[in-house]
Symmetry: C2
Subunit: 265 residues, 2 copies
């Protein structure tokens, strides 16, 4: 396999740095090829802005998706972005590794998504019709490839459990797993999450490392999260609402944390 | 009232720029004071990194929360961050305005959170004991103040509805509303969301603008989202799990989008 690992931690001498090395060593021991995008080390630029589109004339108001579409179609995206495109097309597996900061990815990784996910590349792909709302959520540029997250948190596993105050980790990661990875077609594996990492001893580290090695060994065989395909018949088009009769009609994960949810539910 | 509006769009001549001006004009017409942090215009730095902590010695591995704690305690945060602290302490109401990119805020705004939310300021506040797990989720530095989001999306309202393919908008915004705003104590108002904004005519704009003006007129009277207080008795400490008997035991909002949810639920 060909694995691209996008790494978003500022310190190589950190738990995240160590886990990255553990993952790479295990993947290479299995005979896989690994490339890394080390966003901090590469001084990745986080903000999508007008200078990203040098061919945009100065009179035109900057509309990011429109500018992205034109620049991608004309082959005029900036070099840092096209290098990432080449890596993404090369890889059959994408790993995003980051510490959970404020319940989501660090800004620098969000900036990688905002800038690398160009119109025509990661979105705005495929036809729109009464039966097909673009190639997305199960179709798209990365269809057939795999992706997964490696995430560390300071908080306890219980705090991210089904009834934990932070919200369930799978729900917190849904906008990434479903909205960023599944959207352009990746099969998304369950995330690897290491909790309570701020004070960890050597035995604790080895436990986490061994769990991670096991995930790296099973990268090609782990069943992906069974998200529904947008154009597979489960959703009405164009409202993109789940067809009546599918799913739980009243499921509302986060409302656990609302006063009165016990009566409103 | 004193309102801080943090604005995260790269183009002033955009719908977001126009809506910002609508909000400011209406607030000022009501006699409120308004200050703006215009992140793109201010060239906000998005990445928390070692240069943010010039007093950190070069031998020490960079651990963001530890560095943040020491720098905040010593009054050695960078000027751009302390200016935002002053604004946040001045304001009794915080508004974050942004386009929804990949189901969350743009990188530059995430970077504002990552860097401005210092340890000792927005987290790491208050005592930890068997009855009190820090001043957070309903307590903290911003207790008694109000906050709300102004969000625009290209997608349709139906796509973000309870059964829409993107996931419900309130669940997508939960990590921000609950995890970023409620966490340090804000009372969080329901978000203002404008959908399908990519092709909007003058009448469509005026509808959105009038809805926004109404929200600005009712900023001090709109009931906040009734999140549960972490230390109010609803959660077990230290697991921070909702007490048995509270909330729906099986609520899981995003699992709507899993194949087989209809049988697993």
């Amino acid at each position: 396999m060909k694995v691209l690992l996008v790494f978003a931690h500022p310190e190589p001498r950190s738990l995240n740095g160590s886990l990255r090395d553990v993952a790479i060593r295990e993947l290479e021991a299995q005979g896989h090829e690994v490339r890394v995008s080390d966003l901090y080390a590469d001084n990745w630029k986080s903000e999508i802005d007008r200078p990203d589109f040098p061919s945009l004339d100065h009179e035109t108001p900057f509309q990011p998706s429109r500018a992205s579409k034109a620049a991608f179609a004309a082959g005029q995206l900036t070099k840092d972005v096209t290098v990432e495109h080449e890596k993404l097309l090369w890889a059959d597996t994408l790993i995003l590794q980051f510490p959970l900061w404020w319940y989501t990815m660090p800004a620098i990784l969000k900036g990688w998504v905002d800038r690398v996910y160009a119109y025509g590349f990661a979105y705005g792909v495929g036809e729109h019709s009464d039966a097909h709302w673009g190639d997305r959520f199960g179709e798209g540029t990365f269809k057939g490839k795999r992706a997964m997250l490696i995430v560390t948190t300071g908080g306890w596993q219980e705090h991210y459990s089904a009834r934990g105050v932070n919200g369930p980790i799978d729900d917190l990661l849904f906008p990434i797993n479903h909205g960023i990875l599944y959207y352009p077609g990746y099969n998304v594996l369950p995330p690897f999450v290491a909790y309570r990492v701020d004070r960890i001893d050597e035995a604790g580290f080895e436990d986490i490392a061994e769990r991670l090695r096991e995930r790296m060994r099973t990268l090609s065989t782990t069943p992906p999260i069974p998200y529904r395909r947008q154009n597979g018949g489960d959703y009405l088009i164009p409202s993109l609402e789940l067809r009546p009769g599918l799913g739980e009609p009243t499921a509302t994960g986060f409302s656990l944390h609302l006063n009165g949810a016990e009566t409103a539910g």
